[in-house]
């Protein structure tokens, strides 16, 4: 890998994840350290989080995928807000 390629690799990975219909997530953070790819950000469901790991592994053979994304809670709200 050339130096230039390493500079742009995180953005290329981010773009591919946005355009993969299994993921289509625009809010992922991507960092590459040596042969480790760190993924961060919020995802809607545990299933999507797992899918992101699978898609990234398939996309980046030879890299260790470290999925540090968080699943956003979606319980009922505790109360209501009067707005004025």
């Amino acid at each position: 890998m050339t130096e230039e390629r390493a500079d742009y690799l995180p953005e290329h990975i981010r773009e591919k994840l946005i355009h993969d219909p299994r993921v289509s997530e625009q809010d992922l953070r991507v960092e590459v350290r040596e042969h480790r790819v760190l993924l961060g950000g919020n995802v809607a469901t545990p299933q999507l989080r797992q899918t992101i790991t699978e898609v990234a592994t398939e996309m980046l053979p030879g890299y260790e995928i470290v999925n540090e994304t968080s699943v956003v809670p979606a319980a009922e709200p505790d109360g209501e807000e009067p707005v004025s």
Binding site: P21, R22, S24, E25, D27, N42, A44, T45, Q47, L48, V72, P73, A74, A75, E76, P77, D78, G79, E80, E81, P82, V83, S84
Partner: protein
């Protein structure tokens, strides 16, 4: 008091689990209507939105939605809209609806809206055709929003958007993204027409609360921001509302 449940950016995928289902059972006890602020799907597929449509079909409160940028991705936005409408959801784009809620007329004007940026740093429809098209789209949708809000005959008026009309509810997002997250033209439209509440989504890393320059409350209800299935906002239909031209709503 009118109770409005709102959420955006649910991003349903084909076969994805239903995020709302457990909470929807109690929603009619907690709210008088449900407003959906766009990005209901991941890629804009009709099958994706079917998951949501099946969940809201039997709700006993009215459901009103706008679409978001993700809902346009597959170029099947008309079919996405039809799937929702078949489930009883009112889908707005540049139009408005007035609902009778316990004798109170609640008007909702909705549009996806679009980007461009904010005062002092807004793009202009100048130069290349692509730039003219970008800002021209925002201007057109903002003009329609103002017309729809102005024409609403209602006790309470709500603007339902996907893109943000103000910067305050983008706080937390990277500044470089602001032109792609919203436009002040929508705030100007709302301030010119007057409204009681503005709801939007789109900015997953933004903040929940803000106000337009004239003081109209704005809430970013993107699900990653509110971190609940929905939030509930209450509006008092009997309070004195000042016209925007008289200095805004406090």
């Amino acid at each position: 008091m009118i109770r409005i449940a709102a959420v955006g950016d649910l991003h349903y995928g084909d076969g994805s689990p239903d995020i709302l289902r457990p909470s929807l059972q109690h929603l009619p006890d907690r709210a008088d209507l449900l407003l959906l602020a766009g990005d209901l799907t991941r890629c804009g597929g009709p099958k994706e939105v079917q998951v949501l449509a099946d969940q809201v079909r039997d709700l006993t409160v009215p459901v009103v939605a706008v679409l978001g940028n993700h809902d346009y991705h597959a170029d099947q936005e008309d079919e996405v809209r039809r799937v929702l409408e078949r489930a009883g959801v009112t889908v707005l784009e540049g139009g408005a609806v007035a609902l009778d809620v316990d004798g109170v007329r609640v008007g909702i004007a909705g549009t996806k809206g679009f980007g461009g940026g904010f005062r002092g740093a807004h793009g202009s429809d100048f130069g290349e055709p692509e730039m003219k098209a970008f800002i021209g789209h925002t201007k057109m949708l903002s003009d329609r929003l103002e017309q729809a809000l102005t024409a609403l005959d209602a006790d309470l008026r709500i603007a339902l958007l996907h893109y943000s009309p103000i910067e305050a509810t983008l706080e937390g997002e990277r500044l470089e993204l602001y032109p792609f997250l919203g436009s002040y033209l929508m705030a100007e439209a709302v301030d010119n027409a007057g409204a009681d509440l503005v709801l939007h989504g789109h900015a997953h890393h933004g903040s929940e609360k803000g106000r337009t320059p004239a003081g109209i409350p704005v809430r970013n209800v993107a699900q990653p921001v509110i971190r609940h299935a929905y939030n509930v906002y209450t509006l008092d239909a009997n309070r004195q509302v000042l016209p925007a031209a008289a200095g805004g709503i406090s």
